[in-house]
């Protein structure tokens, strides 16, 4: 009998733990009564995926875009714009419903993980506008925001091809999926466009959160002679950076590079006075979020459409922070190829089949 008391106690501790995890970001919510529909203004909010609003990646970027948009129209957090943090997959539905109850006109779901829940909610509330990032939902009140990652990957591929001295580069992917295949395809196409003889080693970690796996893969690639690795693998990429920095530490003269993804990963590459980050493929989710919000506000919400943001929208780019590594010459060459993509001279492949065709035609 006594046991039961303690089990109860542990359930309490347990819930305390979950609560602590949950309230790390929690300063929202309670004051939901500050908008009782007395405004006619157009408002927008977003639901993060489990990365959280401060993930230094696309959740954070989306929120920055929304804040920027809010600033233009005199909104601040809780007043016209807001976000709901998801700490768990089970949070998506309640978060979406909460924002709907709070009467936001446009609700973003950040990340393909929200697809299913958003699809359901969109069916139930067809008077609301929704938008999903990184996936496609076929519904009249949902705008699908995708990025032309292959274009950005092509550009960093060009940079990698210019930089490599061993004529061997690597690609580390998170999960082998159509989305990440776009990164892979663009990268390979970019590398081969500069020099078809460069070998590209491709490996998938089958996880976005396994730095140990990333490190093993990177270690293997570098010891096989690759000197530039482009990772598109979220947290797994930490292991890639770790391995590159370790090699650099032991042999500062060795030229070893990592190419970051989604945002400028310059800070991750810093080791002493050196930096192993050659460049990063940058995905400006903020640009897309801002753009869609504006369109919706002006009354032409692109519902049911698939929006693809790419180089021409300035939503895709590459970082030039590491000036010592990414020289003027490289930047000029990359810009030349960028022009070619913008002019439509090159159609960057998005799948493995297209890549094969592309490479064969070179």
């Amino acid at each position: 009998m006594k046991n039961r008391k303690f089990i109860t106690m542990f359930v309490l501790i347990l819930s305390l733990g979950t609560l602590l995890a949950a309230c790390g970001s929690d300063d929202k919510g309670s004051d939901s009564d500050n908008k009782d529909g007395d405004t006619e203004d157009f408002t927008a909010a977003m639901v993060t995926d489990i990365g959280g609003v401060d993930d230094k990646s696309f959740n954070q970027s989306s929120w920055e875009g929304l804040q920027e948009w809010g600033k233009e129209h005199g909104y601040s957090k809780g007043e016209g714009i807001d976000y709901a943090q998801s700490n768990d997959k089970a949070d998506y539905m309640p978060n979406l419903n909460r924002l709907i109850r709070e009467d936001y006109n446009l609700i973003f779901g950040i990340g393909f993980e929200l697809k299913e829940d958003l699809e359901k909610v969109a069916g139930q509330y067809d008077d609301k506008h929704f938008a999903i990032v990184d996936d496609e939902i076929d519904a009249p009140n949902v705008a699908s925001i995708m990025f032309k990652e292959h274009e950005g990957s092509f550009l960093v591929g060009v940079a990698a091809a210019m930089k490599t001295e061993t004529n061997k580069v690597g690609f580390v992917g998170g999960i082998d999926s159509p989305l990440i295949n776009k990164f892979e395809s663009g990268f390979i196409a970019g590398v081969k466009s500069v020099n078809p003889d460069i070998e590209v080693e491709v490996e998938y970690a089958e996880s976005f959160g396994a730095p140990d796996k990333g490190k093993i893969i990177a270690s293997n690639m570098y010891s096989n002679g690759a000197d530039v690795i482009y990772h598109s693998s979220g947290g797994t990429g930490n292991g890639v950076f770790n391995q590159a920095k370790d090699l650099k530490q032991n042999d500062p003269d060795r030229d070893i590079w990592v190419i970051g993804v989604d945002r400028d990963q310059y800070d991750e590459g810093q080791i002493g006075d050196d930096n192993v980050t050659l460049t990063s493929m940058i995905k400006r989710v903020d640009v897309a979020v801002e753009d869609v919000s504006n369109q919706a506000m002006d009354g032409d919400f692109p519902g049911g459409e698939l929006l693809e943001f790419g180089l021409k929208d300035d939503a895709i780019g590459f970082a030039t922070t590491n000036e010592e590594a990414i020289t003027e010459e490289i930047i000029d060459t990359v810009n030349e190829w960028e022009e070619k993509i913008l002019d439509g001279d090159i159609d960057v492949p998005q799948t493995r089949d297209e890549t094969k065709e592309f490479v064969d035609s070179l």
Binding site: N3, I13, L20, V53, K56, G209, K245
Partner: protein, 317 residues
């Protein structure tokens, strides 16, 4: 072949080291009769403390930072595990429930404090992680040198040495005998004048220290920063190593090394002729399948310590 081994073995060793430390912790705890599902949480705690300490003191301590960081992580891990000890030994709570609570609590505290202190979901990368080194002289030995002594983390050696120390303590000292006795037949041990509670407390605290060590070594050799996804499942891998290793320190070490070997092999396999055709997934699931087989009794008998998981109540029969 030799070349392949030269690339597999070093990676397998650094991958395994955190698992070995944590699995040894699991062996101590379970040998004394306390199930420790909380290894994952203890690793989270260790990783968190190791990274935070490293970030805070890197400027002051310089090259010694990672070593002192892991010592601090051991201490905090040991202190943190007292919660588990109090609950499962003194209060006789269900040990599995208590362990799960440890897992939740550690992740909660880690993520919460990270957000409080750094204002974001993950810490910066540490500036003083562990770096690999070549062992002087030994690394020049042909064939064996590059396999075992080139670009190695010192922590990998520490893990293997510690496994042997753990084996010596558990099987060659009176303390170890008492600890095992408490896990096999606490009442018999009690009648012989061994304090069951004291032994179990010590065992759980040792396991906390080793779990913290494992987590901090993982963070400082592999991840370089702390976030909610730094430790995901490694603690349970270590637990699997304990079981696969039949609750024996050297067995647990062997199991952890095997896990690392399988993981490393799955990456390198593409360049090995006869393995290139084997789908990667089979190599990836190999450790787990073998653990299940070990549990099911296909690979010899895997008997848990007899009193594992049962709280001891003085005077009952």
């Amino acid at each position: 072949m030799i070349e392949i081994l030269q690339s597999i073995i070093p990676t397998a060793l650094f991958y395994s080291a955190p698992l070995i430390f944590t699995a040894l912790g699991g062996v101590f705890s379970e040998r004394s009769g306390v199930v420790n599902i909380g290894l994952e949480g203890l690793m989270v705690m260790g990783a968190f403390v190791g990274i935070v300490f490293n970030l805070a003191f890197a400027d002051v301590l310089g090259a010694w930072t990672p070593w002192i960081s892991i010592i601090i992580a051991i201490i905090i891990g040991a202190l943190f595990s007292i919660i588990h000890a109090v609950a499962s030994v003194s209060f006789r709570a269900n040990q599995v429930v208590s362990g799960v609570a440890i897992n939740f609590l550690a992740l909660g505290i880690g993520v919460f404090l990270t957000k409080q202190w750094y204002g974001k979901g993950q810490t910066d990368m540490v500036s003083e992680p562990f770096y690999t080194t070549n062992i002087p002289l030994l690394s020049d030995i042909p064939i064996i040198g590059p396999m075992f002594f080139k670009s190695m983390y010192l922590t990998s050696y520490l893990a293997i040495i510690l496994a042997f120390i753990a084996w010596y303590i558990l099987y060659k000292t009176p303390f170890g005998l008492r600890l095992r006795a408490v896990g096999e037949h606490p009442m018999a041990a009690d009648t012989n004048g061994i304090s069951v509670y004291k032994m179990r407390y010590i065992a759980v605290i040792i396991s906390g220290g080793l779990g913290g060590l494992g987590g901090s070594v993982f963070a400082l050799t592999i991840a370089s920063n702390f976030s909610q996804s730094t430790i995901v499942g490694q603690g349970f891998m270590a637990l699997a190593a304990v079981i696969f290793g039949k609750w024996h320190p050297l067995g647990a070490m062997g199991a952890a090394l095997f896990f690392g070997f399988a993981q490393s092999l799955s990456v390198v396999s593409a360049s090995i002729p006869f393995l290139a055709d084997v789908p990667q997934v089979f190599l990836l699931i190999a450790p787990y399948v073998l653990t299940i087989l070990a549990l099911a009794g296909f690979i010899g008998r895997a008997d848990a310590p007899r009193a594992n998981g049962e709280p001891y109540i003085k005077g009952t029969r």
